[in-house]
Each structure stands twice: as C-alpha cells, then as structure tokens.
Assembly symmetry: C2
Homo-oligomer: 302 residues x 2
C-alpha cells in the first residue's frame, strides 16, 4: 500500500534507461557532455497537467542534437513517452522537464569523438520561476553586463547548449549590484538575452526584442503570437541598453515563468516602476490560454 | 592477499571525498558544472613517477576557480595529497590527472548560484597522447577551421574551462577532411589553438606562437623555456593560417603528449612533410629533461 512513486515527488531523472529519484541522479564523470560541454538540451513546461508546445520542443531538440551530429537512441514517440512517464511518476501537475543529449564517453586513451555512444537523459522537477511571486508582482531589476554573450558567428545560439559560464559570471556581477538577473550584450554592445530568458521592450505601443544572437525561445515565439492576437505591433530589432532604459515597459519571457515584468534596468526605472499594462495583458492572456489547453498535451493518466 | 587497488588500474576518481574506480565515477546531474558548464579544471601529467610542474598547475588551478569566485574545500597541501593519492592508488608510472572545480548544486527551485556548495573532484587515467606513436613519428595533419574560438573579450581563455563545443564541432569537421585534429581561428581569422594544445610555427629559425586568445598552456611555457636553453629565438605573434602553411616546421604542444610534429596544415605540406630538426630537438630535450627530474615532484611511495 505504499506509494511506489513517493520517492519521485521531489523530482525524477531518466538515466541509462531507468527512472531514479532526482537526488540520486548522476552522469558519468567522463561523459564529454560534462568534460567538454558537448551536449544540448530542451526544456518543456507542464502546467495544470498539460505540456506546452510539446511537439515544438521535441522538434527543436531533434534539430539541436542533429546539428551537433548526435544520434538519439530514442524515436520521437519514445521521447514523448519518456517525457510523459517522468511527469506522471512525480505526480506533479506543474512541472519543468529537461531533455538532454550528451556526446557520451569515448574509450580511455582515445581522442576520437566519433567513437562516443551518444546518451539521452531527462529530468523533471517541480515547475519553477525565474522570478518568485514577489518579484513577479513588483517586477525584476536587471543589470546589463559588459560580459559578451558568445556571438552567433561562434556558436549557433539557436542550439540550446550548456555554454553558460558567461551567464553565470554575469549573474554574480548582477547580484553584486543588487539586481535580480542579468542581460548580456553582443560584440557591438547590443542587448542579447539573459540566463534562460529573452527580453522585450515596449516603446510607443510596439514590442521590440533582439533580432540576433539569441535563442529562438519558445516563449518568445509565443509572445509574438499573443501580440498578434492583441493587435499589438511587434518586431525584431537591435536594442541598445539605452533602448531598454528609456522604454515604457520591459519584460522577460521563459519556459521557467512565462512572461515576467521588469521594473528596473541598471539605474533606470522602467515606466513608473510598476509592471505596465501591456506586460500585464500579455501575462494574463498567456496563462489564460495555457489553462484553456492552448497548444497543450495532457499527461497520460492525469 | 588481494591487491586492494587492482580496481584502480584503469583509472581512479576522487569524488565526494572518496576514491572510486574511474568506470564508476559519476557526478550529480544537477551540478551546475554540468548543467551550465560552470566549472574549471587543470590537468597535470605524470611521467616515470614524476609530476611535472605540480606547483605551477596547482597555482593556475587556484587562479581559475578564484576567478570564477568558487571556494575549494581543500587547501593546496590537501590538493597535492589527493593528487598524489590518486596516482599512487592506480599504480601508474605514466599518468594524466585532472583536477576539477564545479559550481555544485543549488536547491531545486532556486536560481541563486551563490547558494551552491562548490565541489572538487579529480580523476587519474593512464598517460595519453593527443597523437598516437605512428602520428608522432610521421607528424599530424591539421585542419584550420572557420569555426571561431570564443575570443578573449568574451571568456577569459586563460581560465581552463569546459567550453569546448566549438572544438568538438571543429574536430568533426577536421575528421571529415581527413585531418587528425583542428585549429580554431579568432574573429579576425588568426590562428588560436586546438582542442587541448597550443601551436608553434618555425620560420627562418624563429619560433612563433599565437599571442592572444589562447590558453597560457603549461607546455607552451615549457617550450619557450626550452627554446631559450637551445638559443632559439621565439616570440608571440599573430599567426594567419598562411603563416602556418608556409612555415618550415609546425608543431603542437600539450600536457597530453608534450611536443608533437605536424606534417600538414590544410592542403599545405609542412617543410618536406617529415618532422623538422627544430621540432625534434625540442621534443628530445623535453623528454630528456623530464626524465632527469626537471621540475618534477615524485609520487610518494614510488
């Protein structure tokens, strides 16, 4: 009569073909996914028992690992089944799921990465927010860092990978300055993105978001779709930090939290320092549509 | 009467304060060293029971993790003891040792990396060579890739970290072209470095090696010291691919193999296609000095 899945309430991982409690989840030290950051990933959110844009995420994940010339041991149908099973076993209704391909190990002594057996792993934890409830109510303070995000001509930022050391150092810098998170710039000083989120400015009723050097974020795509639905103008553009400082509204968007207002960028207060009406309309529409099963795939057995 | 360390012949890892066979070595999936490449490392070679430049490596390792604002749970003396113990337990006389600091885990749901407990781990495997004996005799064929190495203004390449996805893709590209390894270029198209090695050209008796955008490699430093000993001129310079194509000799250097000749760069045969005399002199001096205990620290009990 014990609940066999109780061990998974805090989270679960799928590793080496088995489901394990997240606290026990480990990967081989010699996996080049660790030793050389030779890995890619995708993250999918689950809200009220519904995956959001599951097919879109699986398609992007396939594109990422194919570009890295990896072969996944599972078909798309099997990946969907594993994703379902991860969430189902945790019993979570609101969850955050990550799919990961790593290059795998090569025989000790070899340098030939073509010999590696590529590995798939996944984990699922409770849904989490880039900004907590208090910050979502008040808006975040962002710091624009002089740390440059690896530009598109170096690594393709549309592949979701783990080159995040620049973001990590940017986060520490942001915390030093009392900011909640960070935006990195490109070699020309234009704004790119933050750790796990895209950014939008609202200027004279128009939505602007960086056109290049950023992940083609699923929530960013969603925001552009919602803008059309609300008859808001939106376009991709180069954004200097000053364009954010002087914007009427700024918000960020992510699978980890949807659409979240920004109250401050560097020393500049955005608008009157409270979340603006366009941000709030988009945020409300986003959650209302998600709860109405928009682009949703129900978890089996929920 | 069993050899308790037999399990370690293939390699050993030090993880969570314990020594484990390399095949069993695993790190937590949620360590940000994996999920965000938030890690740094150093590698040290052991030859005939002697560490090479152990103090220099430990000092560089400390500098790397300090720049990433990590705290190591072990003092330098303790690190040295762990390094010794890793090699001693394997029984290896020629070995490759890697020290790794990772950011560690943060509580599930948190985004605050300042809450992470930084982790130290190490592993030791048999000494290995970037080029096998045949290639060392004949010289390597290198491919200069259009893939750009992350430039110094983005990430500090003097910190040894795991941002190697560019190298990994470059390696696959090199293999496509029948080359043995790859050199990446910088944003201006100058040659930087390869995966785990620095490069030198010999032109009119002078050694040239890229001045920026490269790891300040320990073997690179050693080569410059050996050049002084042999009264060879040497300087740091910008090197275009054409400077390599037209060089009399080209060689690479690494903790994983010392000094190794290059016979071909792209379509250009270097010199007469056989390892050149300067390369051979440096190579022989390097190994002769190492075997004479130069900058060596003996493994306890060897």
């Amino acid at each position: 009569m014990t609940d066999p899945d109780h061990a998974f309430r805090a989270g679960i991982a799928f590793i080496d073909g088995e489901y394990v409690p997240i606290a026990d989840a480990r990967i081989p030290l010699l996996d080049l996914g660790f030793l050389r950051s030779d890995a890619c990933l995708d993250t999918i959110s689950v809200w009220k028992g519904l995956f959001f844009r599951l097919d879109d995420h699986l398609a992007r994940f396939e594109l990422s690992y194919a570009r890295l010339r990896m072969t996944c041991p599972y078909s798309r149908d099997q990946l969907q089944t594993i994703a379902m099973e991860c969430v189902r076993r945790t019993g979570l209704r609101d969850a955050y799921l990550q799919l990961i391909m790593t290059r795998g190990r090569i025989p000790i002594g070899s340098r030939d990465i073509r010999l590696a057996q590529n590995r798939f792993q996944a984990f699922c934890i409770p849904y989490f927010w880039i900004a907590n409830a208090d910050l979502r109510a008040r808006g975040l303070a962002l710091h624009v860092s002089a740390i440059r995000r690896v530009p598109a001509k170096l690594d393709d930022p549309t592949i979701k990978y783990y080159h995040w050391l620049d973001f990590e150092m940017g986060l520490l810098e942001a915390h030093d300055r009392g900011a909640d998170s960070v935006l990195l710039t490109d070699l020309d000083g234009s704004v790119t993105e933050g750790p796990g989120f895209n950014v939008f400015a609202v200027r004279e009723g128009e939505l602007l978001t960086p056109e290049s050097g950023v992940l083609d974020g699923m929530t960013r795509t969603t925001v552009l779709e919602l803008a059309r639905e609300l008859n808001l103008r939106a376009r991709l553009a180069r954004l200097a930090p000053a364009n954010l400082h002087g914007a009427g509204e700024v918000f960020i968007c992510s699978t980890a939290g949807g659409i979240m207002p920004v109250r401050k960028v560097d020393a500049a207060t955005i608008g009157d320092g409270a979340p603006g009406p366009t941000t709030r309309r988009l945020e409300q529409l986003y959650w209302r549509k998600r709860e109405s099963r928009w682009l949703g795939t129900p978890i089996d057995g929920h």
